[in-house]
């Protein structure tokens, strides 16, 4: 861990989505970097989506496919002129298929400092229930 912390961050260009379907919106779409881990209770997804406001983020889960999509408004004012441009801004899109059954009602999402933290609780195996047989 200590070794990891000493490491210097490398500059990376954002990975652009090469989706088979054409986008209706103009401008690039990127795949956000994610961490995904699983515990006994849940699947956790952490995604770096700088520039996204909570209202512009869409999280969709249907038929075990999780879709993250977000639109990013340009932070620049119309009168600003480029001096140096090293990164591009655009929307985010990424899709995952989940192997576990998720308890839809308990999904929680938090967006803070451009990082999404999405908790997908697994459906607990039905607890064994004793059925009393009435003697009639």
């Amino acid at each position: 861990m200590a070794e990891m912390e000493r490491k210097a961050l490398k500059a990376r260009e954002k990975a652009e989505v090469t989706s088979p379907a054409e986008q209706t919106r103009t401008g690039p779409t990127f795949t956000p970097a994610v961490d995904i881990f699983e515990t006994d209770q849940e699947i956790m997804v952490l995604a770096d989506i700088p520039g996204v406001a909570a209202k512009d983020l869409m999280i969709d889960l249907r038929e075990n496919v999780l879709t993250l999509s977000a639109t990013v408004a340009s932070p620049e004012k119309p009168k600003e002129v480029d001096v140096l441009r090293e990164y591009r801004t655009g929307n985010y899109y990424r899709k995952f298929s989940l192997s576990e059954v998720i308890d839809q009602a308990k999904i929680e999402a938090e967006l803070k400092d451009g990082v999404l933290r999405l908790s997908l609780p697994k459906v607990m195996a039905a607890a064994p229930r004793k059925i009393a047989v009435k003697a009639g």
Partner: protein, 154 residues
């Protein structure tokens, strides 16, 4: 008849080889353009964080994408005409029972110096962070602001 045919041969050959050369040159241009990206884009400095710098008549705006970095973890200073952005991104350890499927997000230290082309009012430099994007506003000094010069008619 024969003379013309002999005369035709080399010219045709010569022209076609020039065409071939021209086509190759165009292909090479296309290839190098593809490697370097469109010409309008600046070459990447390759230092984290990548920045976009814009200007309007009053200020320079330096923006960087720094997801997961809180404002108090950033160290921003301005001296002379260079802006330094440094800090460290830490990704807190999760539950030790967590089994990772993917680990793409990176942590680590960073430091970057950006030189600003013209005079800046250092006392009025301000920075703010929103949704993981840092914006540093560097107001231009009065003497470096563009001035409208009116032409007097006599």
């Amino acid at each position: 008849m024969i003379i013309r045919r002999i005369g035709d041969w080399p010219t045709w050959d010569l022209r076609s080889s020039f065409e071939e050369l021209e086509r190759m040159r165009r292909d090479m241009d296309k290839l190098s353009e593809g490697l370097m990206g469109p010409l309008s884009r600046e070459p990447m400095a390759g230092v984290f964080p990548l920045v976009n710098v814009t200007e309007d008549t009053d200020s320079y705006y330096v923006r960087a994408e720094l997801p997961g970095i809180k404002a108090d973890e950033l160290d921003i200073s301005f001296t002379g005409n260079s802006l330094t952005i440094s800090g460290e991104r830490t990704i807190p350890a999760e539950n030790e029972k967590a089994r990772y499927h993917r680990k793409e997000r990176e942590s680590g230290k960073f430091s970057r110096v950006i030189s600003v082309p013209s005079l800046v009012n250092a006392s009025k430099v301000e920075a703010h962070c929103a949704h993981g994007i840092l914006t540093v506003i560097l107001p231009k000094a009065e003497e470096s602001k563009p001035r409208q010069i009116s032409v007097k008619t006599s």
